[in-house]
């Protein structure tokens, strides 16, 4: 550093424009946020296996598997929207964004429905009123899992659901801007970072689904 170099070329930085770099950096913190939540679930379940039931007995795995498929579809439509604006296809952008919004909203709706069903079966986060019995079993059957099960399940999936909901709101904003012609092939940062966020939420769900519903 003492010698003076002739290297006076402008700094290239990350070779990634600000907005995208900022979104990536933000997503790193999201990784840590979900690490805290999922990690707590893994640790608590490891420490107290008896407090957690076999997911298939309490949770509705087929329904959520279908919901997972919906979220993966929404990732495809999102990436299609991005591919469309890369070709400067305004109509395609709006069409695919709308599809993503609908799929995302559908996902949240199914999750809300699932919550209602589970809660009515006594699978609640509140420790003192937790009383989940096996799916289809007669009244008075053995309680599956314990209060930690309900608490960790709702916290993890709930925060993921909140992320999807926020994503849907932001997608609506992106669609609004797209309809006003804010994005072009040369100016698609808004669409790209929206996509990064959306795919990240999808990625988290892929891991959550496996850890919470299948293992």
């Amino acid at each position: 550093m003492t010698t003076i170099t002739a290297d006076r070329a402008p700094m290239a930085g990350m070779k990634v424009y600000h907005l995208k770099l900022g979104m990536w950096v933000f997503l790193l913190s999201e990784v840590m946020f979900f690490t805290g939540l999922i990690g707590s679930y893994v640790i608590l379940r490891f420490a107290h296996p008896e407090a957690f039931g076999v997911p298939g007995e309490v949770l509705n795995v087929p329904l959520t598997a279908f919901n997972t498929f919906v979220l993966i579809c929404s990732s495809v439509t999102m990436v299609k929207a991005f591919a469309a604006i890369e070709q400067n296809d305004q109509e395609g952008l709006q069409k695919w964004l709308l599809a993503t919004i609908l799929l995302g909203a559908f996902f949240v709706g199914v999750q809300a429905w699932e919550y209602t069903l589970l809660a009515s079966e006594g699978f609640v986060p509140m420790a003192e009123s937790y009383h989940a019995i096996a799916r289809g079993a007669a009244e008075g059957s053995e309680v599956i899992g314990g209060p930690l099960y309900g608490a960790t399940f709702y916290t993890m999936t709930g925060f993921h659901g909140a992320h999807v909901s926020i994503g849907v709101f932001c997608l609506c904003f992106t669609l609004y801007r797209a309809r006003k012609g804010a994005y072009t092939a040369g100016n698609l940062g808004g669409v790209e970072i929206m996509g990064l966020y959306w795919h990240f939420v999808d990625l988290v769900w892929i891991l959550l689904f496996t850890i919470v519903y299948l293992i």
């Binding site: 006076r8 990350m14 600000h18 790193l28 840590m32 946020f33 930690l148 608490a151 916290t155």
Partner: protein
């Protein structure tokens, strides 16, 4: 959590436009997007919280110096804090617990951290790397305006039923999970909500800093030409980015435990109190470095400048910063040696903790090396920076006692810990903050701070500070526990009464001395001697622009030719050589340097 989407989206082109049209008053001083104004906003707010935190400490010290005696003037406080007696008001134990908790919380989260990261991060990063502003100016504004309601909620908790949070700044579960254990219901929840909001504020600040440092450097500003202050703030931002979300997750789980009755940390329904401690300290140890790394950066800057000598071992300084940043993630268990943690884990955490002493030692030795054969000017910032070094030596060495697990058994949770952490946080961070404020004051306000007054403030602070905190080591060695309301309940601690009184009296003196700084600060803003662009004859980019710098900072994009610490270089007639000075005559082929082609945006996509 990602409402930032919109902010990012709308902030995209704000950086590029700085026309000379008049900015409305409210956009200039209140909802400002200029990084220098946001830095000043953070400074005023967190200096206010520094005063609040100091007042809380003063009350705590009164109780310890004069246990059970009526506190003069405390009659104005409500009966929930002070029990009225015929002779005056006596502090209640639950209020003492709140004081302990809130002093720690306010000092760490609302004073030191925003001063180091909010003030110096905002002020220095764009100026030192040659950027016209942060990458996302409006996000930056949002960061400040999230911190303000967080602070207000924290203060409001004193006024609610049951008082402010009283489970310690670490809020160990299960004490913190229910008001049943502490008598504090709403206060504890406000504490959690406030810290969650503040965490989000720090987080978006960190996103901004990282993007700015990576993408907005001026031409020629390679990674190893970045001044150490900016380097340290960059590493700090990475720590904030990755640590705060863990805290946020834990805070939310604890909030659920309190409000809707989940059982994450409640053992009576199968939860794990130790999980809280692990999550808290997994955040908490990086947090400790968040509070000291920027102080190290500021010290390096001031030390090299006032010693008129290049910093000793610039590269190893940077590597030490990075390795502290990484090692900080694998030592959190040393806060938990006596917590009931698996003792085998204790051994591994002890070894990793011993390893983290190494980069800290490297930095200290390098500062000493910088002073060797230097030309030392004893200005006020330099005095504070030097006391940072000497106090950090004490704080670092006393840390080794805790790192050794068997010794920690005895001194854990005693005043030895209190002494150690104040040597690092007050002797370290706060002295560096004083150094930084006096050093960059001319850049912020265009005037110098008063030198004689500053020296008086320094000398008195240095003496009183040591008289307050050094004896705490001895209290701890005699076995005095921390966070106890009335140590005279223990027979074996009663002989420590005179020592405690001694500490209390000098604590009052220390607090009073700070009035000198407050006076100097405000007086100098209006009446201080006018400073030029570069009063300290410094090399770094912020001193090439007017004081205070205009909106957009640099009239034209600066080009950087060398490292930041070329003091007393034989190449220069003076004893400094700014980073922007073109080489006098380039060696051989590089003499025909092409004209720089500055691109205002780092964007290439």
């Amino acid at each position: 959590m990602s409402t930032t989407e919109k902010d990012i989206a709308s902030a995209v082109d704000a950086g590029g436009q700085h026309d000379h049209h008049e900015i409305p008053w409210i956009r200039k001083y209140v909802f400002a997007t200029d990084h220098k104004m946001i830095a000043k906003q953070f400074m005023f707010v967190s200096l206010f919280f520094l005063v609040v935190g100091g007042a809380l400490a003063g009350m705590m010290r009164f109780q310890l110096g004069f246990p059970g005696q009526p506190m003069p003037g405390a009659g104005i406080l409500p009966d929930a804090m002070m029990a009225p007696t015929p002779n005056g008001a006596i502090m209640l134990p639950e209020f003492y617990n709140s004081l302990v908790t809130m002093h720690g919380t306010i000092m760490i989260f609302f004073a030191i951290m925003p001063l180091l990261v909010g003030l110096f991060g905002n002020l220095l990063i764009p100026l030192q790397i040659g950027a016209e502003d942060m990458a996302f100016p409006r996000l930056n504004m949002a960061s400040f305006w999230l911190a303000v309601p967080a602070g207000m909620l924290m203060l409001a908790s004193f006024a609610v039923e049951g008082g402010a949070a009283g489970a310690g700044w670490t809020s160990y579960a299960p004490l913190s999970t229910s008001g049943e254990w502490t008598g504090v219901y709403l206060g504890q929840q406000l504490w959690l909500v406030s810290l969650t909001i503040l965490g989000f504020s720090s987080l978006i600040g960190a996103v901004n800093y990282i993007t700015t440092v990576i993408n907005l450097r001026a031409p020629g500003m390679t990674w190893f030409r970045i001044p150490l202050a900016t380097w340290s703030l960059f590493v700090t931002a990475v720590l904030i980015l990755l640590a705060i979300p863990i805290l946020a997750g834990a805070l939310i789980m604890l909030l659920f435990d309190q409000t809707i009755g989940t059982g994450f940390f409640r053992p009576e329904v199968g939860g794990e109190p130790l999980l809280w401690q692990h999550l808290f300290w997994f955040f908490g140890h990086p947090e400790v470095y968040i509070l000291i790394l920027p102080a190290m950066g500021i010290t390096s800057e001031v030390l090299s400048n006032r010693a008129r000598k290049p910093i000793f071992g610039y590269h190893s300084m940077v590597l030490a910063l990075i390795s502290i940043g990484f090692l900080g993630w694998i030592v959190w268990g040393h806060h938990m040696f006596q917590s009931g943690m698996n003792p085998l884990l204790g051994t591994s955490f002890m070894i990793s903790t011993m390893a983290i002493a190494v980069p800290s030692a490297i930095k200290t030795f390098n500062w000493l090396g910088t002073l060797w054969k230097a030309d030392i000017h004893f200005d006020v910032p330099m005095l504070h920076a030097l006391s940072f070094v000497s106090m950090f030596i004490i704080g670092g060495l006393s840390g080794i006692f805790m790192a050794s697990t068997p010794v920690d058994i005895y001194i854990h949770d005693t005043y030895f810990i209190v002494a150690h952490l104040h040597y690092v946080l007050f002797g370290g961070s706060l002295f560096a903050i004083f150094a930084g404020i006096t050093y960059w004051f001319p850049k912020m306000f265009g005037r110098m701070m008063n030198e004689p007054l500053g020296k008086v403030h320094f000398v008195l602070t240095f003496i009183f500070y040591n008289l307050v905190f050094f004896p705490m080591h001895n209290l701890g060695l005699q076995g005095m526990m921390r966070r106890i309301y009335d140590f005279t309940q223990y027979d074996f601690l009663q002989p420590l009464q005179p020592m405690n009184q001694f500490i209390t009296l000098f604590a009052f003196a220390l607090i009073t001395t700070q009035l000198l700084f407050v006076f100097n600060f405000f007086w100098s803003i209006f009446k201080g001697e006018k400073a030029g662009n570069n009063p300290w004859k410094s090399n770094t980019l912020e001193w090439t622009v007017p004081s205070p710098p205009p909106h957009g900072n640099f009239a034209e994009m600066p080009t950087v030719f060398r490292g930041p610490y070329e003091y007393s270089s034989p190449e220069s007639d003076d004893d400094f050589l700014p980073q922007t000075t073109p080489p006098r005559e380039g060696p051989g082929p590089s003499s025909g340097v092409p004209e720089p082609t500055p691109t205002p945006e780092g964007a290439e996509a």
